[in-house]
Symmetry: C2
Subunit: 225 residues, 2 copies
């Protein structure tokens, strides 16, 4: 994304109005679209879940430290009451509020910026979901471990994922995700410590995953999940 | 979507500038984002395809008569060179062009309208892709036949789908889609005539498919696929 210039004075006002939300594991992030520009994860992890029907739930996106949840002004018909943002671990979030008279002077610039972040986020998320449909569950798990755990975000020293999250992201059972992770452990690709899966040999994964796919969907840290 | 009012004079100008594109089966619809507001399918069928990598292709959306393809002004980083709009049968399309000085007077209203259509389209498409991940291939095929073939668009007298399209939309093999369709034929749910699959007994499908899913994703004709 190209650089975006907001006047220094406006940034000062913006920063002054930021507030912090602390969530415990399992808490929901419930911000109103009409009152929020964006939420930025300071530390922790937030998942976007769709609960389509009984027993049909999927984790559509993961927001890690440094990534941003855009709150676009949206029409009612777009809202899905079965969607939620849930803290997957103790999480701290910075919120830039929308309703503020001081911010009115550059609200349209902010709306354009949010619009662009939202467009990026939703396209990226849609393409990952489509990709999940064409790739086998096994291939997608390897692909997802690669793009998720190699995020270049400086905030995170070393990214890990869990079997539970892998199954919620890919839509397959925990048993199946566990089987794939176990194979990757035996092959020396990943290492599991107290339930946390870390990449041990990135090169093996890079050789297996289509280069264009990795290049296109490599997690663009500090923009969105 | 709530009603949208564009002044009559502007609509006259708009209508005057509309042009028609005729495509033969297999032709690509290649309109430039910066020169197009939207394309509306008059007759025929257009598929949106993602070609992620060799042998990894999926049909992400289907645009039937009366539906609209929004051409939002987008950033370069959003563009996916592996995406294409392809005519799946002989197709005729009306195009509302963007670059026209006469239209400048209400271009911002048009942009807002396109933005809303685009938001609806991309959210709908993303949720269907996520749904495909949580539902079994068999359930999704039944669900898709129901929402696709019962479109209430008056332009279409009777909607049909083919095994080929079902496999391209769901990401499963033709053999598998064929097996499911054969079972549905035996059960009297669908009927196949010269390769075209029509719904014969909608009630059976309605009983099987989760009511909330049908209600939410029932194909909103004349808005988007």
């Amino acid at each position: 994304m190209e650089s975006w210039s907001i006047p220094h004075l406006d940034i000062d006002i913006l920063v002054k109005n930021i507030f912090k939300v602390d969530l415990q594991k399992g808490d929901l992030l419930e911000l109103k679209h009409e009152q929020t520009y964006l939420a930025s994860i300071d530390h922790g992890l937030v998942g976007e879940f769709f609960d389509f029907a009984k027993d049909y739930e999927i984790c559509a996106s993961l927001f890690t430290p440094g990534t941003v949840i855009p709150y676009k002004k949206i029409d009612k018909h777009l809202k899905n009451e079965n969607m939620r943002y849930e803290a997957l671990t103790d999480t701290s979030i910075f919120v830039i509020p929308r309703k503020n008279n001081e911010l009115a002077s550059f609200s349209s610039e902010m709306d354009i910026l949010i619009d662009r972040i939202y467009d990026f986020f939703i396209s990226y998320s849609r393409e990952l979901a489509l990709l999940r449909t064409v790739l086998s569950a096994e291939y997608y798990i390897e692909f997802f471990i690669l793009i998720y755990c190699t995020s270049n975000c400086s905030v995170i020293e070393k990214n890990f994922i869990t079997v539970d999250l892998l199954s919620r992201v890919t839509g397959c059972t925990r048993q199946y995700a566990n089987k794939v992770v176990y194979r990757l452990e035996v092959e020396g690709v990943v290492i599991k410590k107290v339930g946390k899966i870390y990449i041990l040999n990135k090169d093996i994964l890079l050789q297996r995953i289509d280069k264009d796919l990795f290049k296109r969907y490599y997690k663009p840290c500090c923009i969105t999940a």
